[in-house]
Amino acid sequence: MTQGTLDTLRERFSADGLPAEIALGTLVVHVAAPAMHAFAAKLKSESGFDMLLDVTAIDWPGRDPRFDVVWHFYSTHEHVRVRVKTAVTEGSPVVPSLTKLYGSAAFMERECHDMYGIAFDGNDDLRPILLYEGFVGHPLRKDYPKDREQPLVPYRTP
């Protein structure tokens, strides 16, 4: 049943001209950044994906565009997930915010902004949530040295 639902969705997205494939049992749709908000609105209203599970990103060093922003949606009616990916460049890592559609997006977009430096157009509150004010850089980018510390308290002199 799940497979049938996913196949139906895949055909629907493909009919809209969006590349969609089933990878490891999950439907993956590739959407361009400007079309993301409209696509998510349609996903919510027409396909019944009423829950936003996760907002994250992937850093592909050396690839252009460098980042993939990834959303996971879940349908509590059909019990299926869909993964939506948007490629953005390093120079302009901006995607639309989904906070107007899904309240859960607010915190996850803040975290994604912390860790990858992705800007979410429409989310006015992108303060650090896991990091702190004054932290320079985005630690989950591959070019951030993983042991570069930015202490808030001056270290004691031994």
Partner: protein
């Protein structure tokens, strides 16, 4: 591991002989004896070592046998700061403030390998040992430490308190 003398030394090795020094060392011995059995811990608990802290503080291991049973949840009433778990850079100012709120005399125990050295969190987020932020008296390694190791740490701290000098009046009171 520190070798323990069989008895608590009455005088420090560098103490001069004389009646005043004799009284002073007797005073240090008395105060050290009193203080080492009335450790009031403040558990600064941030991570999974908390489970081990609960195990060691309740029966059958029972830190009450060492006079270190009654956790005070205000740093102003505590004299032993037990840092139990990973301290991140975001948490470090809080740890520093808690330490500064404690009254003298005060001691610090780094409980577990994360508090001691950062443990396996060799990354941008974790403080690589709380002794970079506050002074530490006794380190307990282990992920998590066995209750026996914690008890050994408490006993070594008691030894340290018992053999230390205890000025009643200092320039800071």
């Amino acid at each position: 591991m520190m070798a323990r003398p069989a008895t608590i030394p009455i005088a420090r090795a560098d103490a001069r002989s004389g009646a005043f020094e004799y009284v002073t060392t007797k005073k240090d011995e008395l105060i050290g004896w009193a203080r080492k059995f009335s450790l009031f811990p403040y558990p600064f608990v941030t991570a999974c070592c908390a489970m081990e802290f609960m195990a060691v503080s309740s029966s059958p291991y029972d830190t009450d046998r060492f006079g270190a049973a009654l956790p005070r949840f205000s740093p102003r009433q505590a004299d032993l700061l037990m840092v139990v778990g990973t301290v991140t850079h975001k948490q470090a100012p809080i740890l520093r403030k808690v330490y500064e709120q404690m009254c003298e005399p005060k001691w610090v125990m780094a409980f577990g390998v994360c508090a001691t050295s950062g443990g396996f969190y060799q990354n941008y987020a974790a403080v690589q040992g709380i002794d970079r932020v506050i002074p530490v008296d006794v380190y307990i390694p282990g992920c998590p430490p066995r209750p026996e190791m914690v008890i050994d740490g408490i006993m070594q701290l008691q030894q340290k308190i018992a053999t230390a000098s205890h000025p009643i009046l200092t320039e800071r009171f």
